[in-house]
Amino acid sequence: MNTTLPAKHVFPALQQKIKGHNLIWLDSASTTLKPQPVIDAVYQYYAQCSANVHRSVHTPGEEATAAYEGSRETARQFLHAKSTTEIIFTAGTTDGINLLATSLSRGMLQAGDAILITQLEHHANIVPWQMLRDHHGIELRVAPISDKGDIDLEAFQAMLTPNVKLVAFSALSNAIGTVLPIKEMIQMAHRIGAWTLIDAAQAVATMPMDVQELDCDFLVCSGHKMFGPTGIGILYGRETLLEKLPPARTGGDMIKSVTFEKTTFNDLPAKFEAGTPNIAGAIGLAAAINFLATVPFHDIQKHESALVASAQEKLAEIPGLRFIGTPRQQMAIVSFLIDNVHPHDAGSLFDDDGIAIRAGHHCAQPLMQHFQVPATIRLSFSLYNEENDIIKVVDSMKRIIEVFA
């Protein structure tokens, strides 16, 4: 569809046969496949350098440190952060939110303060705040969404009372593909002096995220959802805030000096990275970012939008099919239900045709409750999908419907 897109053979997982069929991966919102350069970068680290970082004077250690800190610089450029001190490596989005929640709970938020989220958040952006509610007396508010799956900006505005200290929301819903007006929402939050956290887990592989342009205070994402390794993620934080925040986890590397009486913490970003980090993960993540840099986001979006539009058009013709979420702006993800076919049964039968879709609540149960459905069938697209994938999905869907007719 677009010549700047990488060739499919860059993704070795697409070479595999599932039940005799070429794999069609429509589950990128769960985790993306990995391109060869990422796989190779991880391999190289283990095979060659494989030293620990930060505290060595030997060559392998200096190389590992240079590679690890170089990955931080790559991540900084990717998110357009001002400084590498603002880039904390985490184990993933969930880990980043938990880290932030723990740190905030250590004196930055008080009982009576409120946190505002939205109704379409992933559990990762709900449950850690419930913990602050239950253990620290923080109020948790939820901005509603419309029947179509769009954020209700008026209600959101109304909930932004002065005691709201943090507003946390997804840039892109992993369950129904809603693109949120995050820039507007950040501005609204800032008007009352609240901090903003963007859950960019789904967004980063599809939309450019420029933390300075967005002017957000925090942003989290996962390597494995952006063509990178598992066990690695990024927490971006505005330097002035990170300076004030107390560390969340402690141990080696994040300290300046330790006596049994008193410990002095290290400077940013080390202050937030305790212990031996996921060195291979960071290096693989940098390779993923470099890979992403070879495809303009504009082309990714054009490609994915075309796939979403095509899927919507073709699926709409299937009798008994109902879309869940039809927001104003939808990206990369299409969720639906079919009369008399439970999503899980559909999922098993899609697999017979080598088609990997997701059936479930997509870790967004409150959103499912909003739509009053227990689960959906979700197709999620990435740059390695093509028009033909959708044709196969529709064919397969018809066959599945017949099974349960």
Binding site: H344, H361, F404
Partner: protein, 144 residues
């Protein structure tokens, strides 16, 4: 049988389309919830167990996938009229049937229609569906 299509044997499809013992049971001694929030499967089971420990009647209601619905329907078919102990034994056999490759149960004619589930073990993510209501029943009978 490794195609999922083979999982959906006629008998399973039949019981999922038209489950038996469906509905609420006014007179019941036990009311059980069987939830798998991960898939969204959610059933209520009603058992009428008499003083001798015989399951006199049973119904269920709720929604879920074909496998879990058929399994619940067939489970009730199988346990009505049985004693608690017999139902518990059946639970153990059924568990083995759906979890273990080549289990004795898959050859055992006394499993009756439940044999339709003898290929579920090949689809690990669906084992939970097949066994959901059985576990819920067992939890209650076990503590009886």
């Amino acid at each position: 049988m490794t195609q999922a299509a083979d999982l959906y044997q006629d008998i399973i499809l039949h019981h999922s389309r038209a489950p038996r013992h469906f509905g609420q049971l006014e007179q019941h001694s036990h009311h059980i919830k069987a939830d798998n929030p991960l898939c969204g499967d959610s059933y209520e089971l009603f058992l009428q167990i008499d003083d001798q420990g015989i399951i006199r009647n049973a119904t269920f209601q709720g929604a879920g996938c074909a496998i879990s619905k058929a399994s619940t329907s067939l489970m009730l078919d199988a346990i009505i009229g049985k004693s608690i102990q017999e139902a518990e034994e059946l639970f153990i056999h059924f568990q083995r049937l759906v979890k273990e490759p080549g289990s004795p149960e898959s050859q055992d004619e006394s499993m009756g229609k439940l044999a339709a589930f003898s290929g579920v073990w090949k689809f690990p993510s669906r084992v939970k569906c097949a066994i959901l209501s059985w576990h819920a029943m067992h939890d209650v009978l076990h503590h009886n």
